[in-house]
């Protein structure tokens, strides 16, 4: 026969267990960013360019007939240089390296930047073939960020290269 004191003890202990589980299952809530902060996500995955060279007729003649490809393209890909400017001031700069042992894989970057909500001039410049000077992809826009809003900086050659995405709409 279980004593009344033991029953009370069990109720208290099971109650404490349930309260412990119940509380920490959702509390305290977690605040990842302050109320007036917006987020810029830079996420680019792109295959760097490669420098192909046209073989001379002499070179082609020396090759077996079935191997005479007019262009010689190295397997390795170029590093990619990326610069971000916010209100004409440098915000971020990186060199993305190709993956793979032969440096023939994709180059990627993923970064998050927290900004105060507001209006900014955002410029992103990218060069995917460092043999050439300057930047062959540039995207500039005046952006307005609301609190907690996410703006994505991405790259897709089929969508014209660099682009900004806010919400489900692409920003042009």
């Amino acid at each position: 026969m279980v004593k009344p004191a033991a029953i009370i003890g069990q109720i208290v202990l099971y109650g404490a267990f349930a309260a412990f589980i119940g509380y920490f299952a959702t509390n305290p809530t977690y605040k990842q960013i302050a109320d007036d902060i917006a987020l810029v996500k830079l996420s680019i995955s792109h295959l760097g360019d490669r420098e192909c060279r046209k073989r001379t007729p002499e070179e082609l003649a020396k090759m077996p007939p079935n191997m005479r490809a007019p262009l010689e393209c190295p397997r390795g890909r170029s590093d990619i240089k990326l610069v971000i400017e916010l209100d004409d001031k440098p915000m971020f700069e990186t060199i993305m390296h190709p993956t793979g042992l032969s440096r023939d894989g994709i180059s990627s970057v993923y970064k998050r930047f927290e900004l105060k909500a507001g209006s900014y001039k955002l410029a992103v410049k990218m060069n995917d073939n460092l043999v050439n000077p300057g930047f062959n992809f540039v995207k500039e826009a005046q952006i307005t960020l609301k609190p907690a809003e996410i703006l994505v900086i991405d790259f897709n050659p089929d969508r014209g290269g660099l682009f900004f995405q806010q919400g489900s709409a692409e920003k042009h």
Binding site: A6, L13, G22, Y110, P147
Partner: protein, 524 residues
């Protein structure tokens, strides 16, 4: 005769004492059989069955399209709160409780030093299960696809991307609202079912080397914990946060701190620090059995001429260390074979052997299976020597257990005290032998119920003395002169008081009930 060992460190020793004290305290409310702390593994398995049962229903009603996951789960909580909503809450709270008991189980086994020697296999196979639990738990939160899911999905993939595994960041899958499609949730559900199935397989492996696995806790514990979850489900039902929107950063999310604590920890430190912690802790857990620890106990030894192949040791061994094989010398007989890797050196097999009876007339008592560190012959010699020296009106013999309260302090002019490796090592015939040889009463002291160091020692002892398990105490032996007293390590004072009470009871009942064969005789 005891084997030498390295003492455990101060921290594990302190942790063990803390666990022992809390468990003893809980025993007051629950009793040993219903004390949840003494059945954490079984409790975890029970929570897993709750998760499987409730998960099956949730899977049936889940719509795996992007809009469908959120609305179908939300529908459960809103429109069908009395069934689906409660099952959803049970699923969440059972998973949190599972994580809690898993870590308590891990901590308790470490504190008691149960990670090396014959327990090496169980320890090592338990470590990967923690990973599987977290993969299941975190993935489960994503299926709801609310803001918490969004936060967790992005935080997890960002954490994964720190490792040099992916050529393309996996966090790109959650960049913008159009980044994911319906198939994502189909794959997610597949993972959320597949990983728990692996967990069940892993758990089967984890308990593979122990016999009579405690698959479920007692009915009272099951009902009480289920009632706790039901109360939580009604008072604080599991609800979704606002729907996920990859265009917005969830500013404040309700967080399950048992499962998703890694995300704030990553924000607070860095992915490098969190992976160092995860891999470091995993490596440490794997390495623990290889670090200095107490020496292994000598294992049981079979004596072929005295083993009649009865299989009782094979049946009683808590660690499946004994198998039966054809006897080399006796045709159509079997012999016990001890697996050195599995043997705990507890001596329960010696207590189960019918040849371990002290009534045998051999000068040197050799039994079928025995412990080199404490042979039954030495036990008989000690018992006889101590009985011969007993004086006083009520002579008692106390058989104790090295794992429970130390009985050696009880020895005195009228009390013989013998400590065994485990109470389960005591052949019941020794009790009869003591009573026939001049003892007025016999006490068998061992670990508290549910707290046996070797799992089944006290349970088998009780059953043998209650004549429901072989080798049983003979019916002629007066039960009123036998007392079983569970007492944990450090409870010597409590045990001494119980022994004194038993002595008083024996003195008050006098000689009337004593059968002639057990009449008082001088041993001097």
């Amino acid at each position: 005769m005891h084997f030498e060992s390295i003492s455990p460190g101060i921290v594990p020793r302190a942790a063990q004492i803390l666990f022992e004290r809390i468990e003893n305290l809980f025993d007051r409310a629950f009793g040993g059989a219903d004390n949840p702390l003494r059945h954490l593994g079984a409790l975890g398995l029970y929570f897993l069955w709750i998760l499987v049962a409730t998960g099956l229903y949730l899977y049936i009603v889940l719509d795996t399209s992007i809009e469908g996951v959120y609305s179908s789960i939300g529908w459960l909580s809103r429109e069908q709160w009395y069934l689906g909503g409660i099952l959803r809450s049970l699923h969440r709270y059972a998973s949190d409780a599972f994580v809690v008991v898993m870590f308590l189980h891990l901590l308790r086994e470490w504190a008691y030093g149960r990670y090396h020697g014959f327990r090496f296999y169980s320890w090592i196979t338990g470590v990967p299960l923690i990973w599987l639990v977290y993969v299941s738990g975190i993935g489960g939160y994503w299926i709801v696809w609310d803001q918490t899911a969004q936060f967790s999905a992005i935080a997890t993939t960002e954490l994964l991307d720190w490792l040099p595994f992916f050529s393309e960041p996996s966090a790109r899958n959650f960049l913008a609202p159009d980044s994911i499609n319906d198939r994502f949730f189909t794959v997610l559900v597949f993972i959320h079912i597949g990983v728990p199935l692996m967990l069940i397989l892993g758990l089967w492996t984890h308990v593979n080397r122990i016999s009579r696995v405690d698959y479920l806790p007692s009915r009272r514990v099951m009902l009480a914990t289920l009632a706790s979850f039901l109360a939580l489900a009604l008072l604080k039902p599991a609800l979704s946060a606002a729907p996920a929107d990859l265009a917005q950063m969830p500013a404040e999310v309700p967080l399950d701190w048992f499962i998703l604590f890694l995300h704030p920890l990553t924000d607070l430190t860095s992915p490098a620090a969190v992976w160092t912690l995860i891999f470091g802790a995993t490596l440490l857990l794997f390495a623990l059995p290889f670090l200095p620890h107490p020496a292994a106990a000598p294992i049981a030894v079979v004596d072929a001429p005295n083993c009649n192949g009865c299989s009782r040791c094979h049946v009683d061994c808590p660690y499946e260390a004994i198998t039966m094989a054809p006897h080399p010398h006796k045709p159509n007989h079997k012999i016990a074979i001890v697996d050195a890797d599995h043997c705990a050196g507890c001596g329960i097999c010696a207590g189960s052997c019918p040849s371990s009876t002290p009534f045998r007339s051999q000068q040197r008592l050799v039994t079928g299976i025995d412990m080199p560190q404490q042979p039954v012959d030495a036990l008989r010699q000690q018992l006889e020597a101590q009985l011969a020296s007993l004086r006083g009106s009520t002579k008692l013999v106390v058989f104790g257990c090295d794992q429970g309260a130390d009985v050696r302090g009880l020895a005195g002019a009228d009390t013989a005290a013998l400590s065994l490796i485990c109470a389960g090592m005591l052949p019941p015939s020794f009790i009869e032998y003591a009573l026939r040889s001049g003892a007025d009463g016999v006490v068998v002291a061992g670990c508290r119920d549910g707290g046996c160091e070797f799992r089944l020692g006290m349970e088998w002892t009780r059953e043998r003395l209650a004549r429901s398990r072989e080798p049983h105490l003979r019916a002629l032996v007066p039960q009123e002169r036998i007392e079983i007293l569970p007492a944990a390590r450090g409870e010597q004072r409590r045990l001494a008081a119980a022994v004194a009470a038993f002595r008083t009871r024996l003195e008050s009942q006098g000689e009337a009930a004593r059968p002639p064969a057990y009449s008082r005789r001088s041993h001097g």
